[in-house]
Symmetry: C2
Amino acid sequence: MADIGARDGSSRDKILEVAEALYARRGFAGVGMREVAEAAGLGKSSLFHHFRSKVQLYLAVLERVLGRIDERLGAALASGDAPAAKLDRWTDALVDALAEQPASARLLLRALFEDEQFDTEEWPEGQAVDQRVESLLAGISRLLEEGMRAGAFRRASTPHVVQTLIGAAIYHFASGELGETLLGGPLLSAEAVRTRKAEMKAFFHEGLAARPAQSRSGDDG
Amino acid sequence: MADIGARDGSSRDKILEVAEALYARRGFAGVGMREVAEAAGLGKSSLFHHFRSKVQLYLAVLERVLGRIDERLGAALASGDAPAAKLDRWTDALVDALAEQPASARLLLRALFEDEQFDTEEWPEGQAVDQRVESLLAGISRLLEEGMRAGAFRRASTPHVVQTLIGAAIYHFASGELGETLLGGPLLSAEAVRTRKAEMKAFFHEGLAARPAQSRSGDDG
DNA sequence: GTCTATATCACGATAGAC
DNA sequence: GTCTATCGTGATATAGAC
């Protein structure tokens, strides 16, 4: 019962795809079911056949985006590398995930606010969303604590570092026009994505303060 | 300024105050004029007497929030201190501003997306908003570049550092329930605010990597 | 599974009395 | 400046034919 219609995803997937883009652009309240239906090439009532309510559709979109990101980040953490190298991989994976699905950063930031409008525990899709978030935070938190114990990272508040890492990545890719004005170019070009990774990793490794000449490892691309 | 009836701000200020809280919680599309009016103790038509349209009200709320923040940050940059100390003050001021007005972080993040729904240049309030943002970004950018020239900061991409600073602050205070779960306590208590300032400044100064006291062997800790 | 209605309600905005 | 009443539109969601 839990996976009805999972095999025939032709309409369902199309709906999730167009809804993701629309919700990212104008948010939960700003997108009507009629608009989603038309963008998916369906009548409004057909859309209600696939998703019983607007909330359910929204949560399903969220879960799909979070699932993609969580899988990538989990893979980045699965290697046997040293903590600092793992954090670099995690950063690369997060930036890649956000950049490859341009809607995701905005969708997730919006979700931060909008899921307070309804109770996520009321819907099965909402519980899946909560689990994905928990998995994501637990993964990076575990890495940071391992790294501190091993002496690779300085002693800091793990939750605060997590907040800083996520904020630095997600805000950047959600900043849209404002960010592009600041950068003087696109946010999502291959070059801009490469630069963002390098700048973030340099920040994590060195902070901002100038330092006397010191040995460093290189960065990837 | 060019405002009519600015002397009697009793209704107008009340409207802006309640609208700020509502827009922060549910966004532009999610809050109706009727709800704003009732929260301000007015009828809907009376609200339309003070603000000719919903867009105008929204932009006025935004401008007020940005104005408060821009003034604080400007003051932090006005001192004659060294760049690193100025950046610390700027960080303190940004964190204080976001923490003292709990709605502001969410409101500003939402505005990142939502002002693409209408043309800010079409309304005088929108132009004021754009000017505030420009002033804010120019201020911190100037400080960073001065600091790099003076050798206080390492050479980095100024716009990327700006994105990281803003993202680290604004995401944290907009993260709401999720952030409080992660922190295991409130985001806005005096202690939590103090901690956030310290963690952010430590990150800017040192990054995350442990700094070897003598050599890079990684055996300390 | 998709469709054409339709029910019910809230939206932004306006008119005009007081 | 605040109110009641209303216009026109579009929202979520349902009923039921095919």
